[in-house]
């Protein structure tokens, strides 16, 4: 909450100063019939509640990953880790594969018809389909 004033100031200054608050988009394979998705739906795949799509994660500890889970599920990295620990150590699921960059995530999503990932909006190209934008 404390960030709001500085964001407003920075926004007033032109926004270019703010790479940190870039929009995150949720992407799927171009062959995926889905066209739109709500945050609650997308979070199901990233929290192991549904296996219909295969989640692709960004690197652990990365800024975009922390922001993504905060925005989509209001969870911090430790909470997400605890949720996956329950699934992993009961043999119910394996954690998402991780990729270190927007381009690698994009490529993994483009290669797998069932994949769902998230990247910076600025990294989007025609190889993937955006189904949700997280402001």
């Amino acid at each position: 909450m404390k960030k709001i004033p500085s964001i407003l100031i920075a926004a007033a200054l032109g926004g270019a100063l703010l790479p940190a608050s870039a929009e995150i988009v949720v992407i799927v394979n171009k062959d995926n019939p889905a066209t739109r998705m709500f945050s609650e739906q997308a979070s199901q795949f990233f929290l192991g509640k549904s296996a219909m799509f295969t989640p692709i994660d960004q690197g652990e500890g990365s800024k975009i990953r922390t922001e993504f889970y905060q925005k989509i599920a209001d969870k911090d990295p430790a909470q997400v880790k605890a949720i996956w620990s329950k699934l992993v150590f009961t043999g119910k699921a394996t954690p998402p594969r991780e990729f270190k960059s927007n381009n690698d995530v994009k490529k993994a999503v483009a290669d797998d018809p069932k994949a769902i990932g998230y990247i910076d909006k600025s990294a989007v190209d025609e190889s993937v389909k955006v189904i949700l934008t997280l402001p």
Partner: protein, 401 residues
């Protein structure tokens, strides 16, 4: 020596492994693990506080054996549909020493996106957190409340299970059914401590429904528990038979197997900063057997202040209706029979704190006030009846890698 080894192993795992990637190997193999390094003590040496089915426990001097454990898991995907998982767990269980056992070992086949079958050893999902109760990092509390988690003696089953997961709009439903045979050791504290062996064909199911932050769950299981080497009980039933109480002897014994059933309902809530967990369970005997019927429950509530989560819980168990009504017995038999047939009762108030202090690392402290109210509750190695409050203080680090 073993204690030092496990401390070293745990510290090594805590400090070294998280620095590396979580996954090793060729992408199909993943190695992961979890553990707790904890130390605990109570305020008395009159009795010892134990986890369920634990021989060592803790008294008035600090011990790491109550809560410390180390689990290692390997999973290998042969194909997108077929995978194998092995998990071993080191902890203090029915032995005074740390021992290692195979907790999970199964082949999993995904029939489709919603359904999978597993063949091999799986942990019995009798209660809400049964199948991840040893993973400290995945739990809010330091340890599962013994009043409830001590009611069901079987941990894993060798057999098959079926898992199904489906979304109905915003609601997720998962169902699990299992069948197989459970076998293992049971620790008997009475008479100075001994270990018995059980075999138990078992089956059951668990159904979980999730709606946003709320999860509710119901489970039921049945088992025919057979123990042939429970000397204390066998000596008593032999005496009963000799003195003409053959019916009572047959009713009490677990030789040849007796049918029991376990039913539970539970919930978890993780809404904004409020964290809650509650559960109620019943243990019932279908056949006449010495094992007392019981009811137990606990409720926990916590509030998350950023990375720090203080919590409070109350946990309780007491006997339900006694299954066997013994005839008039000579005093020398009446006393031990009554002791076997009556259920312990106990209530615990506990406060604790979980602090997610670093990546994949949670620090916990917990203070329990344990109040036995029938027999000696779940406290062991003390007098047959003990009703003083025992305070347990514990601190530990949970980690995953």
């Amino acid at each position: 020596m073993k204690k030092k080894l496990i401390v070293a192993a745990v510290l090594a795992a805590a400090c070294v492994l998280p620095a590396h990637a979580a996954t090793l190997g060729d992408g199909n193999l993943s190695i992961s693990g979890f553990g707790t390094l904890g130390v605990a003590k109570t305020n008395t040496d009159d009795v010892r506080f134990v986890r369920y089915n634990q021989a060592a426990g803790v008294g008035d001097s600090p011990r790491i054996g109550l809560d410390s454990n180390l689990g290692l898991q390997a999973s290998y995907s042969m194909t997108p549909a077929l995978s194998a998982t092995l998990q071993v767990l080191s902890r203090k269980s029915t032995s005074e020493q740390f021992t290692t056992e195979l907790t999970w070992g199964f082949l999993k086949y995904k029939l489709n996106d919603e359904t999978s079958v597993r063949l091999g050893r799986t942990v019995i999902p009798a209660f809400l957190i049964s199948d991840y109760q040893n993973v400290g990092y995945a739990n809010t509390m330091m340890r599962p409340p013994i009043e409830l988690y001590g009611q069901e003696p079987l941990e894993s089953v060798d057999g098959a299970d079926l898992n199904w997961q489906h979304s109905f709009g915003d609601n997720n439903v998962t169902a699990q059914g299992f069948v197989g045979k459970s076998s293992g050791k049971l620790f008997v504290a009475a008479g100075g401590g001994s270990v018995t062996h059980y075999d138990a064909p078992a089956y059951g199911f668990a159904v979980t429904a999730e709606h946003g932050p709320l999860t509710v769950r119901a489970a039921h299981m049945r088992a025919k528990i057979e123990v042939n080497d429970f000397t204390l009980l066998n000596n008593l039933t032999d005496s009963l038979a000799r003195f003409g109480f053959a019916q009572l002897a047959n009713d009490m014994t677990v030789k040849g197997g007796k049918k029991m059933r376990f039913t539970s309902v539970g919930m978890t809530l993780d809404w904004q900063n409020i964290v809650a967990q509650a559960e109620y369970a019943q243990r019932r005997a279908q056949d006449a057997v010495y094992i007392p019927q019981s009811n137990s429950w606990y409720a926990m509530a916590g509030y998350r202040f950023g990375k720090v989560l203080p919590y409070y819980a109350h946990s309780h168990t007491n006997g339900a209706e006694q299954k066997i009504k013994p005839p008039l017995l000579p005093a020398a038999l009446a006393v031990p029979v009554a002791s076997f047939l009556s259920a312990p009762a106990q209530g615990t108030d506990l406060i604790g704190l979980r602090w997610d202090c670093a990546k994949s690392l949670a620090l916990k402290v917990q203070y329990d006030r344990v109040k036995p109210s029938a027999k000696s509750g779940t406290l062991v190695y003390g007098p047959a009846v003990y009703s003083r409050t025992v305070n347990v203080i514990a601190a530990g680090v949970d980690f995953v890698f």
